[in-house]
Symmetry: C2
Subunit: 299 residues, 2 copies
């Protein structure tokens, strides 16, 4: 049994340089693209971050026995979608945030029109990256399908819509409803990341299914830990205004079931995620480490 | 020689019912998609319109000897991208329009957050439609690539960005610069429409090249005619506040080179477009009729 007090090594750290190099290359200047637009896209895409989603893509590719280089296009694509979603979520008409990880949000650094357009362009670039960066047409088209379904009206955008609607209406909901929001708002891109990694290396369907199970459990655990960090006001860790979610009545796990029950639930989910990762034996080791690392953030 | 006074039959009219049926089916309710979001997407996608871009997709498919049914997914996808671009362009931070074709714009009918999300979801759905609706993986992935490049940072979004930047800065530009804006802002989706139709039916590269030439000329002619209609304040035809482009100092062809020279230029471009359409002989007849029809709108 691992000692909960001993820090788990960050399994993302050694993947970040190769991810950042690929992100940087993906937004090289291009004829026809206004420099102001490219700068706003780069500002958001290259902002310091954990690169969790692209790392999940690469880890899934490795778990399925492939090379990380085969999945780097999908890793870039998922970070583009993540960056676009943050830009649009931060807009005044949406969450109206001025800071993200201690830096001005895109519409504060540039302006609102540029932020909307940079988000649009990043979302579009994600599909271009999949279509041009995965050489096998069958894999590329499936990757486009999975990304679109995960990010679209019944996935991430749907979850964000329901979240905003609930906030505006001050509706009372139950835990199942909160989980359904998170399953789409955060979980959909988690699941998509792992599936894209697998699809990029031509994985078997059974491998994709195990990664989907892993993603579902880890994604919810990650969200609960995020809620806990916000609830406890750990401003340094979050890099945004602490407790802001709670202050504006946003639904969170600790708000619903309390801090202790939230911690227990995150722990159970991490244990379940690790069981799915263990199906891959040695190649799933990073996924297993990542699950421990996610839980550790909440301590 | 055709008599300029005799009205040209609208070659789009008999395609509209099959396009509208496909658009309607594409946004059927879906589990996980909030009804409010779906309603906003439908409001914009199904708003009355000429369906010019999807019709171009179907006409290109026919010109290349294919069936319209093979290209209907691409027709839906391009109209989704067009609808998303109108929603985002109309936002207060962008062109700030309250009306489009006599109806409230999406953010007036719903709210700003819903409009941003509906646009995002339509853009995403366009790629899902291509990936799932074109059965041959090679064609589907190429369609995704072409759509992304046409709609993205060096295409439509890039053109919109430059247009807004010029407006904000009150910059003086030359005609070549105005054409470069339109080539991306309007022309990119025109070209994409014809290319997608051709790709959907597995056309030859030489056919795609001819359609690209046709699109370039017709797209610019269409934009000049649009500018002329706005300039002359034909409110009924445009269904939006007449002369508004001119009032806010937006760059237009008649503003640059005058009404007569704009009319001549549109006429020359239509003649050139028809020559490209004639390379397809009988199957290109609709494309030829369309060119005449576009010019007729300006008379």
């Amino acid at each position: 049994m691992s000692n909960p007090a001993s820090p788990v090594k960050n399994p993302l750290a050694d993947l970040v340089p190769e991810i950042d190099a690929a992100l940087n290359a993906a937004l090289a200047p291009q004829e026809g693209c206004p420099p102001e637009l490219n700068e706003a896209m780069r500002y958001s895409l290259m902002s310091p971050g954990k690169r969790l989603r692209p790392a999940l893509v690469l880890m899934a590719a490795e778990a399925c026995g492939g090379e990380r280089s085969e999945a780097i296009a999908a890793a870039v694509a998922i970070e583009m979608v993540h960056a676009y979603s943050l830009i649009h979520d931060d807009l005044p008409a949406m969450d109206d945030d001025d800071l993200r990880r201690g830096r001005p949000t895109c519409h504060k650094q540039f302006d609102e029109a540029t932020a909307i357009l940079a988000g649009d362009a990043l979302l579009t670039a994600a599909f271009e990256t999949l279509a041009t960066g995965i050489p096998q047409p069958e894999r590329a088209v499936r990757a486009c399908e999975v990304l679109a379904k995960s990010a679209g009206r019944s996935g991430m955008v749907g979850g964000q819509t329901d979240d905003l609607l609930a906030e505006n209406r001050n509706e009372r909901h139950n835990l199942a409803w909160l989980e359904a929001i998170h399953r789409r708002k955060t979980g959909a891109l988690f699941t998509c990341s792992l599936q894209l990694g697998a699809i990029s290396v031509g994985a078997q369907e059974s491998q994709i299914a195990s990664l989907t199970d892993y993603a579902r459990d880890l994604g919810l655990a990650f969200q609960i830990v995020d809620d806990l960090l916000d609830w406890e006001g750990d401003g340094d860790e979050m890099g945004k205004q602490s407790g802001k979610d709670a202050a504006r009545g946003k639904l969170t796990f600790p708000g619903f079931i309390g801090v202790d029950a939230s911690r227990s639930k995150a722990s159970e989910l991490v244990t379940a995620a690790k069981q799915h990762a263990e199906l891959f034996r040695g190649t799933g080791q990073r996924l297993s480490q990542l699950a421990d690392y996610v839980l550790q953030r909440s301590r």
